[in-house]
Symmetry: C2
Subunit: 308 residues, 2 copies
């Protein structure tokens, strides 16, 4: 099974309004509730692809109960650990006149030392039997900035390949603990390395300790620096739609290729095709399976000469 | 005791953000959850003034449970009736750079015929022992537009004075059932009567069946057309602040005066002073008790010659 970790899960609310006007009052015409947080998004995509998937992290309060009820309706196995504080909400306000989205994210509950200890125990138990683990998203208040580094070390000690997808100081510390794979986007890379040059920054990030770095170049695809070589993966054509969740789908694609022991070009093709199929889906964060099957053989993966 | 009815209760969320920018992503710096809906706001003010207060209406789902937990921490007695659908949320986004508020209101659950029947039975039981009843706010989906007219008739049959504070067709139908008091604002009056002249519209509204009409003129105070005479009540000075809940506080003032059998000028003074003390309060929807005591003797109430 594939294990995904979401320390700051969220009850994602999507509100459709005819037009968002600051300082006005709006009737919401449609409300959608979904289990959210990057690791849960990754888990949902993996489960939809047919992989046995387990989700852990934290959930608490009334919002946490709703999240767990919604998760129970999916094939993802719920191994979330309880918190006294309530799970945060995120609100995505979709302006139906323009299609644009305005996002509001609550900070999340403060996790106590005892709750972190309970999580760490559960995580260690779940590593036994995991083919791969993904550590995804921001840290909730109360969790120390080296938490991901700690979880990377536990995964490596258990011999389970570990992917880290976060930003800022938790990424900096986490990379130093030598994860198998990190998947930064351009902003995260620039924050980590100080460089906006994708090739230079990707190499630099790998030099900081990650066994492989797959950098997201947005609509231009992915750039991968690995022990086996350097690749670029590009979607067959520009896709138009909602990019929400495209990065999480790329992570799911990389994990599926990892557990299937697929060669790097195949892993990258899956990641790019899933990402594009997510942008194309009418429902934010879902992928279009037909588009995925159609795009997969058309992703262009090219080996680049090893610089640096 | 005083009974308040809120058919479309809400879990009111207030999100503070440094600045609201459409199409951007925002970290919410503070989240406040409160039991909401106009009748619950009225009940909270009455309870703070020391009146025994009972709240009925509907609540359901996880949001309804949170609302009831929050209500349990107040002196208001909870006599809400359960619904299968979840209680709606409202989100008030406060831009802390300007103080302006952007409001998003979910529509609310669809109330079934059986749930309405259960509510009607509870309402009839609660009328026994009520000194006054207030019917407040919008109707949730599924409830017939004549619902308030029905509740007005039940109240009158039980000999309990009834105040109606709603808008649109539910107000039009409700007024025809002859409530003791309606409290429209300028927009509601204009929608009901077609006139933007406060005096003419207030008389017209009274002619439609209400025993008394107290029209809210916003910062200029109230205009009351009653069987005992016509009055204007004006705050001592313009007050600056957040008008959220000011109308609900005015309703609480009118009800407190009604159950105390105070003369009309005293009732209107309480309504205007409570309304102004709510605008002045730093917390939206709460009133400042010191400001209330200080403002009360300074509200100017003048009898006007009976026209029409």
């Amino acid at each position: 099974m594939i294990l995904t970790v979401t320390l700051n899960t969220a009850l994602d609310l999507t509100y459709r309004v005819p037009a968002l006007t600051p300082h006005a009052s709006h009737r919401v015409t449609q409300v959608i509730e979904r289990p959210g947080g990057k690791g849960l998004n990754v888990a949902r995509v993996l489960a939809a692809l047919g992989y046995e998937t387990v989700a852990t992290g934290f959930a608490g309060g009334a919002t946490g109960s709703v999240l767990r009820d919604l998760l129970a309706a999916t094939p993802v196995r719920d191994e979330l650990v309880g918190t006294a504080g309530p799970t945060r909400r995120t609100v995505a306000i979709v302006d139906t006149s323009t299609g644009d989205t305005t996002q509001l994210n609550e900070p999340g509950p403060t996790v106590t030392a005892d709750e972190w200890t309970a999580f760490r125990t559960r995580f260690t138990e779940l590593l036994d039997g995991a083919a791969a683990v993904a550590l995804c998203g921001s840290l909730p208040p109360g969790i120390h900035v080296g938490a991901y580094a700690d979880l990377v070390r536990l995964s490596r000690a258990a011999g389970v390949p570990v992917l880290l997808d976060t930003s800022g100081e938790p990424l900096r510390r986490g990379i130093a603990a030598r994860p198998d794979l990190v998947k930064p986007n351009a902003d995260e890379l620039a924050q980590l390395t100080g460089s906006r040059d994708p090739l230079r920054a990707t190499h630099d990030a790998r030099g900081r300790g990650a066994r492989a770095v797959v950098s997201s170049l947005g609509p231009e695809g992915l750039l991968a620096a690995t022990a086996e070589g350097l690749w670029r993966a590009t979607p067959p054509a520009a896709v138009k739609g909602n990019p929400t969740g495209a990065g999480d789908s790329a992570v799911a694609g990389l994990l599926s290729g990892l557990v299937d022991k697929a060669p790097w070009p195949e892993r990258l093709a899956r990641a790019v095709a899933l990402s594009a199929a997510t942008v194309l889906s009418p429902v934010a964060g879902e992928f279009d399976p037909t588009a995925y099957e159609e795009l997969l053989p058309r992703v262009k993966v090219t080996a680049e000469p090893q610089a640096a």
